[in-house]
């Protein structure tokens, strides 16, 4: 089930909200959320819902063991056992096919390549449960003694299938003590509608451009066409993924949960390190908290662990070399920036830093798009004007003209417009009233337009569903 579907918005969600608000008792509300979350997941994965419950149960038990044997060697064993099981499940379902294919090629073997269907959201919920057991081990969070409550944390449908990766510590208190205020509900509705509009009005229509430009024969695409396709694709992924995150955060608010932000206007960054502090923040935070500072390579080997993080970031996105290259590609630039140091970077003129960061990002998304290495090579040749193709082609011109307003809207809303509006709100009470009422009108318009456009979008899964 996808958030951007009429079935979810106008059937599943209203029933869930009605049931949720039919009781004030938090225990019952948690039970209702677990039931609806499991239905939500089972709707797409009727078999692998069992894996989700199993994964939650394993980590629940391990949490108890870590707590019981705190300070003893058994506590460490429980942690290692939990990590082994979680990462083992992920490895089997997500990476076994990729691993065996590469072993076959490297050693000229003919081993049977496993072909598991990737359970939806496994990359997200596995990381969430890992965050719990590690934090438990580090005594950063209290052990959760109720399996129902823990299952609710793992399966909570707003963030279950495509993030953000909500750390247990973020909602630890709200699991047992929360209430939905009118302010939360209002902000939640607004956030859901903005996320929906980002996905349906902007990302889905940008995807038509990407399909037109990059979906065809890349070897004969013009240079400008290739740059245009790469930029539009970067915008599409941003609006698609941040739209989902907005909806997840908004739905969380409706049920009284306050998730951390997952995006913070990534395209206004001035360097790649900053980009990753603004893009998919929850994944970066996870790696930073649990991988970067692990004493894996010793203190003097911070660059080695930095590359490990970027290798894992790439691999997390998919079991394919292009994702690993994509991760390492960004890792190289973060490494260079870290090597140069912030002081030296700040001396570089702002405009140069902006151009540099945008170039690296747009090329990076090209790597993300082309899973086929041959196509990726052609993409690079086009980007660097060495394919002997035309400078610009008519299809690119027509596509740009056909979508110029959409592209303008997409570019403008990459800037922190809402922060500017927030400042205006502070100026006077009158301004506050005008702007907040305008927001209501905008919400109505966006909801209606998105719903109408959804009628023509029978199948429009979010891009990050595949991870």
């Amino acid at each position: 089930m996808t958030f951007s579907s009429l079935f979810f918005l106008y059937f599943f969600l209203p029933i869930c909200l009605i049931c949720y608000s039919s009781t004030q008792k938090l225990e019952y509300r948690n039970i209702i959320l677990v039931i609806f979350s499991l239905i939500f997941y089972a709707w797409g994965e009727p078999i692998w819902v069992s894996l989700l419950v199993f994964s939650a149960f394993i980590d629940y038990i391990h949490g108890l063991l870590i707590h019981k044997f705190r300070g003893k060697v058994w506590s460490k064993i429980a942690l290692i056992s939990s990590l082994t099981i979680n990462l083992g499940i992920l490895a089997i379902f997500k990476y076994s096919g990729f691993l065996v294919t590469n072993i076959n090629e490297l050693l000229s073997l003919n081993l049977t390549v496993p072909s598991f269907k990737l359970p939806i959201g496994i990359s997200f919920y596995t990381f969430q449960t890992i965050s719990y057991t590690i934090d438990c081990y580090w005594d950063k969070v209290k052990v959760q003694k109720s399996f129902l409550n823990f299952l609710m944390y793992v399966s909570l449908f707003p963030q279950l299938v495509a993030g953000p990766i909500v750390k247990y510590s973020t909602i630890e208190k709200e699991i047992t003590s929360r209430k939905t205020t009118i302010s939360d509900l209002s902000k939640g509705f607004t956030r859901v509608i903005i996320g929906l509009a980002k996905k349906v009005i902007i990302a889905n229509n940008l995807s038509l451009i990407v399909d037109t430009i990059l979906g065809g024969n890349i070897s004969s695409l013009s240079y400008i066409g290739t740059w245009y396709g790469a930029i539009v694709y970067a915008l599409q992924v941003y609006y698609d993924f941040s739209g989902y995150s907005d909806m997840a955060i908004g739905l969380g608010l409706m049920f009284g949960f306050h998730f951390d932000e997952n995006f913070n206007y990534p395209f206004i960054c001035k360097d790649i390190s900053e980009f990753w502090q603004r893009w998919h923040i929850s994944l970066g935070t996870f790696f930073k908290d649990y991988l970067l500072y692990l004493p894996l390579f010793g203190k003097r080997r911070k660059y080695a662990s930095l590359f490990l993080v970027w290798f894992c970031t790439g691999l997390w996105h998919g079991a394919s070399w292009n994702y690993i290259i994509w991760g390492l590609y960004f890792g190289i630039f973060v490494f260079i920036e870290s090597f140069l140091g912030k002081k030296k970077i700040k001396k570089i003129p702002m405009i140069v830093r902006h151009i540099y960061s945008k170039l690296i990002i747009f090329i990076g998304f090209g790597i993300f798009y082309f899973e086929n290495l041959k196509s990726l090579l052609n993409f690079f040749k086009n980007l660097f004007f060495i394919n002997g193709n035309a400078f610009i082609d008519d299809i690119t011109k027509i596509s740009f003209a056909n979508n110029i307003i959409l592209i303008l809207i997409a570019v403008v809303f990459c800037f922190p417009i809402t922060k500017f509006i927030e400042k205006l709100r502070e100026k006077s009470t009158k301004m506050l009233a005008v702007l907040d009422m305008s927001q209501v009108a905008v919400n109505v318009a966006l909801l209606l337009i998105s719903s109408i456009m959804l009628v023509d979008a029978t199948n429009n899964p979010f891009l990050y569903f595949r991870f």
Binding site: F7, S186, F189, D211, K374, I395, N443
Partner: protein
């Protein structure tokens, strides 16, 4: 003064803060109420509104509520199909789709009078388009004629030239590079040029060779007493795509020439050159992927010449005009320019006497009825026999002993009324739905002429495999 200040400030500030909070809360309450009401209204509308079953503009049946089975449940199909049914069958679906197309049209401007929809830059990632260059022509010579005694020989009834017809060569398996246009999916896109939708064609010489080998096999099976013809119809791209864009895509002309090289014992009906002189007439629909009935008429005329059968003049037909036609290209592309510029659907009723009998795909009698039925809206092309599934038998007042079997996609439908004055019996078989062995069927019904009639997308795309399927099943 200082004292007054100290007293006043808190008194003045507090109401402002309170005021702000009050206003904020009131507007938040309004927001929640308004949005909740909209959610409730749309939910109710979707729950109790009458759900459509067919989309005429898209030329397809909409999703049906799935039937339950444990297998479909456990593999996730059942639940996915429920959501799909809910999303696909929205009440007033076509109205909302029209609104979407208007919204999309407002997202930009036309350049050169052109709007593009979907992938018009290439059929598949890194796929190569096949065109006949001078080099290519030299390296793909026509198949050699064989004098092997074991191969049957046939006489072309039109030219009187005897040709050998070797046992068909092994087919070249190719991936379906062009998705099935008839089933409403275009792997390529649609280019709208001056209010005319043009599906973009990418040919495949290998697929064309396959097609030729499939129809050659019919000739080999049916022997010299039966004439086999191949009429591969070009689409609007061949005549209406602006030249500078046409060069980027597959050339239907080159692909037709490629097919011709591999036909063996099969008589080619050159629809492309028959239509070319008439390109300024209404031979292709602007809003639909089919040709217009007049285009089919000129192609049928060419076929009649090759088959050496009589052919009624256009003046003998009754001309029928159905205004306000907006066909499938709008439904598929949702380009508002097509919807906003409807066209006339003009077809011709033959004047001679004939009866039409409809059979199911297993040739069980279904009903007797008119050949040209009353169709509406975006389905006006269904004027010809209603739909593709039926096997149709037309018995005419022509007494020349000739029985024609048309093996076709929907392009072939419009040929049938043009041939009621040319053959005594006509059997219309849609290769996609036919459930019997085609060779046995043709023999049992005394077929003297077999016409393969389909568009280039079918001949060099996925549909051509059905030609072989119905021969061998």
């Amino acid at each position: 003064m200082n004292n007054i200040d100290n007293i006043d400030i808190p008194i003045l500030k507090q109401p402002v803060k309170k005021d702000r909070k009050q206003i904020e809360k009131s507007i938040q309450t309004i927001n929640v109420i308004v949005i909740a009401l909209i959610f409730a209204a749309i939910s109710l509308f979707l729950l109790i509104g009458k759900r459509p079953t067919v989309s005429k503009t898209e030329n397809r049946e909409l999703a049906r509520f799935p039937s339950f089975s444990s297998k479909s449940f456990f593999d996730g199909e059942y639940t996915a199909n429920i959501a799909n049914y809910y999303n696909d069958t929205v009440p007033f679906r076509s109205t909302f789709k029209d609104m979407t197309s208007s919204l999309r049209a407002s997202m930009g401007i036309e350049l050169d009078g052109i709007i593009i929809y979907g992938n018009v830059n290439g059929g598949k990632k890194d796929a190569k388009k096949d065109t006949l260059s001078a080099e290519k022509t030299e390296t793909t010579p026509p198949p050699k004629q064989t004098t092997d005694e074991t191969t049957p020989t046939v006489t072309d009834v039109t030219t009187g030239i005897t040709e050998s017809s070797p046992v068909p060569v092994e087919t070249v398996p190719v991936e379906d590079e062009i998705d099935d246009i008839e089933e409403g999916i275009l792997s390529g896109g649609i280019l709208v040029y001056r209010n005319r939708g043009i599906p973009v064609y990418y040919g495949s010489f290998a697929a064309g060779q396959n097609y030729a080998s499939f129809v050659n096999a019919y000739k080999a099976d049916l022997g010299e007493s039966v004439n086999v013809y191949s009429l591969v119809a070009p689409t609007a791209q061949s005549f209406y795509m602006p030249k500078k864009y046409a060069e980027k895509y597959g050339s239907e002309k080159d692909n037709l020439e490629n097919i011709r090289q591999f036909l063996n014992g099969v008589i080619e009906v050159d629809a492309y050159n028959a239509l070319l002189p008439h390109k300024k007439e209404n031979i292709y629909s602007r809003t639909d992927h089919h040709w217009a009935p007049l285009g089919a008429f000129y192609a049928a005329q060419e076929f009649a010449k090759k088959a050496n059968v009589p052919f009624a003049d256009l003046s003998t037909y009754e001309k029928v005009i159905e205004p306000g036609y907006v066909g499938t290209l709008y439904g598929w592309s949702q380009v508002a320019a097509l919807k906003d510029n409807p066209e006339d659907f003009i077809y011709y009723k033959p004047s001679n006497q004939y009866t039409t009998t409809y059979y199911d795909p297993n040739f069980n009698f279904d009903h007797k009825g008119p050949l040209l039925i009353k169709a509406y809206g975006s389905s006006l092309y269904c004027t010809f026999m209603g739909s593709d599934e039926f096997i149709v038998h037309v018995n005419t007042d022509v007494k020349n002993g000739r029985t024609l079997a048309i093996v076709k996609d929907s392009y072939g439908n419009a040929l049938v009324p043009c041939l009621t004055g040319s053959f005594e019996n006509i059997y219309v078989i849609d290769m996609r739905y036919f459930n019997l062995n085609a060779i046995n069927f043709m023999r049992e019904h005394g077929v003297t002429d077999v016409l393969f009639a389909m568009n280039t997308f079918s001949a060099t795309g996925g549909n051509s495999k059905h030609i072989e399927r119905i021969r061998t099943q």
